[in-house]
């Protein structure tokens, strides 16, 4: 089943065209890694999926529901705010900078949105949240404030927080880039676990080893375009495009 379909996405910041006609389909349970040099538009692409950025042109379809499409004159039209919100909270997102809520304890960070947005009762969501915390190995931190956690712990809480909304798709924007090298492992482990549970995932990453091992498909972006895509095998062992080759060489 198709979880996500993008057709010919264009996005400009002022006069700078950052996405130049991206098309992409992701099926259920697939793990897609997006790699590419800085400024190539990877974050922007992810952010367009859940309307943190508004696209100028193209179509976005999430689980068969249209989020944005072009009208007969070719102008991009979004569905209503209410509808867009319902479509978008099926996608969880994990940010490079964690973006935990500093004024709430770990457990409150996790239960806030399910209670507020979905109206789930506290006594129902608390056990679920505790289960998620156990899963990311942070149950004993449930009453701590985020400022007391290491970067790796923060990011694992952020993952649990996103999962508490029971998303069908998880978006990761360089989830380990803000971490000390010795802390990336614990976050990658949690992500690996999710992949094993067949979560549909789109991961922007500089962790080539992770992309190679966990992703079913690797997409190389450069300068607002998808330059090359294929299995990790194809991209890492046998890249066809000179730009892909050059990028991979620079990553070694």
């Amino acid at each position: 089943m198709n979880m996500l379909r993008l057709n010919n996405i264009h996005k400009k910041f002022n006069h700078l065209e950052v996405l130049k006609g991206i098309s992409l389909e992701v099926s259920q349970g697939e793990v897609v890694a997006i790699i590419g040099p800085s400024g190539s538009g990877k974050s922007t692409l992810l952010r367009c999926l859940n309307r943190l950025e508004v696209i100028d042109q193209g179509t976005i379809e999430i689980e068969g529901e249209i989020l944005a499409t072009e009208d007969t004159e070719g102008k991009c039209q979004y569905v209503s705010e209410q509808k867009a919100r319902e479509i978008c909270f099926k996608m969880g997102m994990v940010f490079q900078q964690f973006n935990l809520f500093p004024h709430m304890t770990v457990i409150d960070n996790i239960i806030e949105a399910p209670m507020l947005v979905k109206g789930i009762k506290k006594d129902i969501i608390i056990p679920e949240a505790e289960e998620l915390l156990k899963k990311v190995g942070l149950f004993e931190k449930k009453d701590s404030y985020p400022s007391r956690l290491s970067g790796g712990q923060k990011q694992r809480v952020a993952i649990a927080r996103a999962l508490a909304m029971k998303p069908d798709i998880m978006l990761f924007d360089e989830p380990t880039s803000a971490l000390d090298p010795e802390l990336t492992g614990e976050v990658l482990k949690a992500m690996r676990q999710l992949a094993l549970e067949h979560m549909t995932m789109i991961v922007v990453t500089h962790e080539m080893a992770f992309a190679r091992e966990v992703a079913q498909r690797v997409i190389f972006m450069d300068n607002g375009d998808i330059v090359e895509e294929g299995t990790p095998e194809q991209i890492f062992n046998n890249p066809q495009q000179p730009r892909t080759q050059a990028f991979l060489k620079s990553m070694l």
Binding site: R85, F101, E112, V117
Partner: protein, 217 residues
């Protein structure tokens, strides 16, 4: 000693007027200031422009002038002009003025919250209003405690401006007695009262800061 006790009667009446001015102004101008700050950052340009102009007027002219205007000039305005009793006029002028200052403090607080907090709320499915109420404003409150505390202590002393409307607040009462009895004691008593009030406020705001220290950023 006996003299002091006979002074205390009118002095306490003055304290009462001062306290009333202080608390009513504070209770009304804080929420109004918050509303104004939200309007000030609104996407709707006419609204934010209107509020910006309002804040400029209120901060750009002396509070004393505003006080005199509300009391003496407002009744002369055609159609809407009403003659307010002195106490109401004073409250109106103070609330309008302090709300403008508080609005700027709240705005600074709101704009100091990282964009990532809004984005986190949004991707979790929260509406703008939910994000504001549950995520942004609680963090803003922590950050604005120190400047609000400053403004509040200034308000204690600003209340003495109402003497221009011939209202018998603490300071005017003190002056009246001093002029009548050629005795400086009332000034000392007034000073002690203002200092005590400031002390209490400092304590309250310190407690607030301590409570918010539960989480650091």
């Amino acid at each position: 000693m006996e003299k002091i006790i006979t002074m205390m009667g009118p002095m306490l009446d003055g304290v009462y007027v001062t306290l009333q001015m202080f608390f009513i102004t504070l209770v009304l101008s804080l929420p109004l200031g918050l509303l104004l700050s939200l309007a000030r950052i609104s996407k709707y340009k006419p609204i934010s422009f209107l509020v910006e102009t309002y804040i400029w007027l209120m901060r750009g002219t002396p509070l004393m002038l505003q006080l005199l205007f509300v009391y003496y000039a407002l009744p002369l305005v055609p159609y809407i002009g009403i003659k307010l009793p002195d106490f109401s006029a004073a409250i109106l002028a103070f609330v309008l003025n302090y709300a403008a200052y508080f609005a700027e403090i709240f705005r600074g607080g709101i704009q100091s919250i990282e964009r990532g907090q809004y984005e986190a709320g949004k991707v979790l499915g929260m509406t703008y209003v939910q994000t504001m109420r549950r995520i942004i404003l609680p963090q803003v409150l922590k950050r604005v405690v120190p400047p609000i505390s400053n403004e509040t202590i200034t308000l204690v002393k600003d209340t003495s401006l109402i003497y221009v409307l011939a209202m018998n607040d603490l300071l005017r009462t003190a002056r009246t007695i001093v002029q009548r009895e050629f005795d400086m004691t009332p000034f000392v008593i007034a000073a002690v009262f203002y200092l005590a009030m400031t002390l209490v406020l400092t304590w309250v705001f310190n407690k607030l800061e301590e409570r918010y220290a539960a989480y650091d950023e």
